[in-house]
């Protein structure tokens, strides 16, 4: 009994030291990671300055018409920065991007949409479903505001519409009810609930992490998702770079 107690003491001592060593090594790993991101951040600032001042000739000329529909996902904590959002939209307008969807999970931008649109010139708020081709042919700028409720919850509403149709067809007999469970019918049901189903070509994420925060799943099949960093530190040069690189991308779509 006493012998095992004596053996346990150095063991617990060793294991405590081992844990401390592991923790130190883990902190060091993260220190290296943070240093890396600091250096990358500084490089991005310099690059952005070179691009926005026109010194970097490669980014001077590009055709932004390839970005037919752009989604901007903002972290809800930063979505309160209305002036920044207005500035971002005006930068995009200057670059020739005419149709934008502003998304944040909690719907902060949705609540302040009048305040945002007020500060911009000749911008229409897009409500409900729209056709991408018809929209693109319009010259005027449109802004759509979306939030988490336009995603998963909209699918549940659309499911209820399809349920109604399903019940109706089932009453008529036969096995036709299965025919309504297809992607086109789903899209139509979503439109009928008042949701837009236009798929953005490009999505810019402003926030600490590159994730889409619940942007309607039905719209981001092949959307290129790019992380832009914090909205408070947004840079014009980085925006130009992203849009330029998008216009150079060639997609296979699984083939």
């Amino acid at each position: 009994m006493a012998f095992s107690k004596v053996m346990w003491l150095p063991y617990s001592y060793i294991s405590r030291i081992a844990n401390l060593v592991l923790q130190r090594l883990w902190h060091n790993m993260h220190l290296i990671l943070n240093t890396y991101y600091l250096v990358v951040g500084i490089a991005c600032v310099l690059e952005s300055y070179l691009i926005s001042s026109g010194l970097w000739k490669e980014y001077k000329a590009f055709n932004s018409s390839k970005v037919k529909y752009l989604a901007i996902v903002v972290d809800s904590e930063e979505a309160y920065l209305t002036s920044r959002i207005v500035k971002l939209v005006s930068w995009l307008e200057a670059l020739g991007v005419k149709h934008i969807c502003l998304y944040d999970a909690e719907g902060v931008m949705k609540k302040s949409k009048e305040a945002i649109v007020e500060k911009l010139n000749k911008v229409t708020i897009l409500e409900g479903a729209a056709e991408k081709d018809k929209l693109v042919s319009q010259n005027s700028m449109t802004l759509e505001f979306a939030s988490f409720s336009d995603g998963k919850e909209a699918v549940a509403k659309a499911a209820n519409l399809l349920l109604g149709t399903y019940m109706k067809l089932a009453e008529l007999g036969g096995d036709q009810e299965e025919k309504i469970f297809t992607e086109p019918y789903m899209a139509e049901a979503l439109k009928a609930t008042g949701c837009n189903v236009i798929e953005p070509d490009l999505m810019l994420v402003y926030g600490p992490v590159r994730c889409h925060h619940g942007f309607p799943a039905w719209r981001i099949r092949y959307t290129e998702i790019v992380h832009m960093g914090s909205l408070a530190e947004m840079k014009y040069g980085s925006l130009i770079k992203v849009i330029y690189e998008f216009t150079m991308v060639r997609q296979n779509y699984g083939k």
Partner: protein
């Protein structure tokens, strides 16, 4: 004598490398470890082109890369790993390549069940996620056999997405929700069903034997990426005469009018989520897409609400330990922020 000596040295070296790797994982485990990692295995064909070999070489190299990464994930303590093996969109590739991939899948699924394989070593339960009816019979049967054989494994889970797209998953979940809701409605007391469901419909219905010509016109553009749907349903046009209904718009409008009158159970978000193929696993904590592409390509669009997306430039066969370590360290860096987001969403 030399060969045996050489074999022993490489065995020792391999053992030493494994020991170092386990030490590395021990250090990383001080921080939070992701519970579920998803991979989009992109870049096999580009890898083959880079090495001036046939596409099949790329796919085989991709398979070895998959096995190594699975080993690393399970060693690190990740419980769920999901891989995007074959998309419904991939059926559009050349018939030879599709056939090769199906044969490779069959070979590998059968190999999974052999003794000494990683599946048995780590006690992994295998799920094949997707519209399995689209697969050829031998592959589907092998997949079902593998799922049955590993059903009792409890230590870790491997989800292989084949014949999968998020759109298909969502539509399928909605379909299953509707079917189960219909059963629920039918079990309600008779009077409620008659009054709620049928009368509401009958008052406003104007059902004609219309061909669904309008929906075909508006939906033609939306058939892209869904050729496989034709495999299931046969020609969309041929079945039009059978469907005694209006266009979805017309029908949906009428049904909306009926909504107020009906007092029948309705589908909630939880019902749809319950019927998703991926309901067998929690949402992924990290999604890694190789070859630097920044899109999700119809993969886990529903499940990646608060999931960080990483796109290392390396092609899939080149993806290795350090890419995984990098992704996990980044996950740890943004863990607190994402946990706050998830908590907020659960409260809502």
């Amino acid at each position: 004598m030399e060969k045996i000596g050489g074999g022993r040295t490489s065995e020792l070296f391999g053992g030493f490398v494994t020991f170092l790797r386990k030490c590395l994982f021990k250090v990383i485990s001080v921080g939070p470890i992701p519970n579920h990692i998803a991979f989009i295995m992109d870049g096999n064909r580009r890898y083959a082109k880079k090495k001036n070999s046939a596409t099949v070489t790329g796919h085989r190299a991709g398979y070895s890369s998959l096995m190594s990464l699975l080993t690393y994930c399970y060693e690190l303590g990740v419980t769920y790993v999901t891989v995007y093996a074959f998309s419904i969109d991939n059926f559009r590739r050349s018939p030879d390549e599709v056939k090769y991939l199906m044969d490779l899948m069959l070979e590998k699924i059968e190999g999974l069940l052999k003794q000494g394989n990683i599946i048995n070593q780590y006690g992994i339960k295998v799920h094949f996620i997707g519209n399995l009816k689209l697969l050829s019979e031998p592959v589907r049967l092998a997949a079902e056999k593998a799922m049955k054989a590993t059903a009792n494994n409890k230590k870790a889970v491997l989800l292989v997405c084949v014949a999968y797209t998020s759109y298909d998953e969502i539509v399928h979940a909605v379909q299953d929700s509707c079917k189960s809701k219909r059963k629920e409605i039918q079990m309600l007391p008779g009077s409620l069903v008659r009054r709620g469901a049928s009368e509401g419909f009958r008052e406003h219905e104007k059902i004609n034997d219309l061909a669904i010509h309008d929906i075909q016109e508006s939906c033609k553009d939306r058939l892209h990426g869904s050729e496989a749907r034709h495999l299931l349903e046969g020609s969309f046009e041929n079945s039009s005469a059978d469907v005694a209904t209006k266009t979805p718009n017309g029908l949906i409008e009428e049904v909306e009018g009926c909504e107020m009158q009906r007092k029948v159970p309705s589908i909630e978000l939880a019902d749809v989520e319950e019927h998703m193929y991926m309901a067998v696993a929690p949402d992924p904590d990290i999604l890694i897409r190789s070859s630097g592409e920044t899109r999700l390509s119809n993969f886990l669009l529903w499940q990646t609400t608060t999931c960080p997306l990483y796109s290392p430039a390396a092609l899939w066969p080149e993806l290795g330990l350090w890419h995984l370590v990098w992704a996990v360290l980044n996950f740890q860096r943004s863990y607190r922020y994402l946990e706050t987001k998830r908590k907020k969403m659960r409260e809502d």
